[in-house]
Subunit: 220 residues, 2 copies
DNA sequence: CTATCATTCTATAGATTTATTGAATGACAA
DNA sequence: TTGTCATTCAATAAATCTATAGAATGATAG
């Protein structure tokens, strides 16, 4: 094999991975799987795909070894193949934010930057937890909370926020988190809480980023 | 705009980047541009593409803002848009090595692992340079050396190795480096040098990785 | 066994991407 | 001006990717 053939093979193998990443639905699926294992049906539901189509995309990801699947009872659970997949996704996200002005714009618009939500870093939250009595709300769907969540966080799905508002104290600081930078559930929750007289702010990272930093996590 | 439309936009923007990455020729181009700016012609030559085809691929990369171009005299020089692009590429490379057994295999086979080339880390090299009189050889094409190279390294292109062998001393340690993990020039050079009675080993990183770590670099 | 259900497979038409060819552009030199 | 040269543009056919619909699989429950 000459050098050219060698290089062609190498870059073809690499492109096998990047091709699998080159589709919006598959990126959304990876972003979702960063929360933990999920069945085809749940993935399809969360991404607005038909089950058949979601299955197709999952098989593409599996062929590129970005995800693995494991059958449990009637369901096939997919997960990210390993930490490197999430790391690469983070790297691509950073790249997106730095190169793509429209992306930044889109997120700022939707988050209605004008409202200037206060945010707090994981490090600050850890310090605060030591000193004060803060309430941490996980506003992701309960299924994702059940797989794993920040230690001492309460499951408080965005969907049930209004209904369960009375459960929350007005006199304690509330910190809210969700899936990550492409997820708006925490932003919307904080906005709603503050409008209703609570003292809420947003963790500036999603759960997967917290977990990737090896910060304290609880599993159901 | 509802949440679904928002997510579709976000992931479509991100996929704009990953689609641009989803082609073996474009990956090879990025890997080459990590060495520094290069003209379309040089890129085409190094990647075995026709100039027209290379230009097409470069325009795709440019549209995704992964590269920028600047005209100088008759030539259009392309470079990586910024550090995040190289970081993402490193992340993807790591992903490739961890998920893709064939990729590892390909490289090990070609490097003929059997010969067990000694390697040295950037940190070790820095320490060694303080104490001993080592010779550092940059075996990349001279053009790439001229853009930037490891401080105190000598340009010694792989292609001229045989011809210029007499210039090297047999009694000093020789450290060789090239473009990076997908480049074999340093491996081949080390093998050839050792076979001819020199004391050579390979730096375990390519030039771009050295530069990304902010280690001392010299520009022509 | 039959029925059910989650998932995967198959087939297909439509959309996108690719390499190639040759023409067009636009800077520079004579 | 005219010619040269590097690069880009435009057009095309071949290859690949995508979503959809419906059939097939394979595990579980009755």
């Amino acid at each position: 094999m000459d050098i050219r053939a060698f290089k062609d093979s190498i870059y073809n193998q690499m492109a096998g991975i990047t091709k699998a990443l080159g589709n919006p639905h598959r990126l959304e699926i990876l972003d979702l799987l960063a929360q933990g294992a999920a069945s085809v049906e749940y993935i399809a539901e969360q991404t607005n795909l038909t089950v058949g189509n979601a299955s197709q995309h999952l098989l593409v990801l599996k062929k590129a070894r970005l995800v693995t699947s494991e059958r449990q009872w009637k369901y096939n659970y997919y997960s990210l193949a390993d930490q490197n997949v999430f790391d690469a996704w983070c790297s691509l996200r950073r790249l997106g934010f730095s190169q793509n002005a429209e992306l930044k714009q889109l997120i700022n618009d939707y988050r209605s930057e004008s409202t200037h939500l206060r945010t707090i870093t994981p490090h600050e939250l850890i310090e605060k937890m030591k000193k004060e009595d803060v309430i941490i709300l996980d506003v992701r769907p309960e299924k994702e909370y059940n797989i794993a969540h920040i230690e001492d966080a309460i499951s408080f799905p965005k969907a049930d926020l209004e209904k369960r508002l009375h459960e929350l104290p007005q006199d304690k600081e509330i910190i809210v988190y969700c899936r990550g930078p492409f997820c708006l559930m925490a932003d919307e929750a904080v906005q709603y809480l503050n409008k209703n007289g609570f003292n809420a702010s947003r963790l500036d990272r999603g759960f997967p980023d917290w977990a990737a930093q090896k910060l304290p996590v609880a599993t159901a």
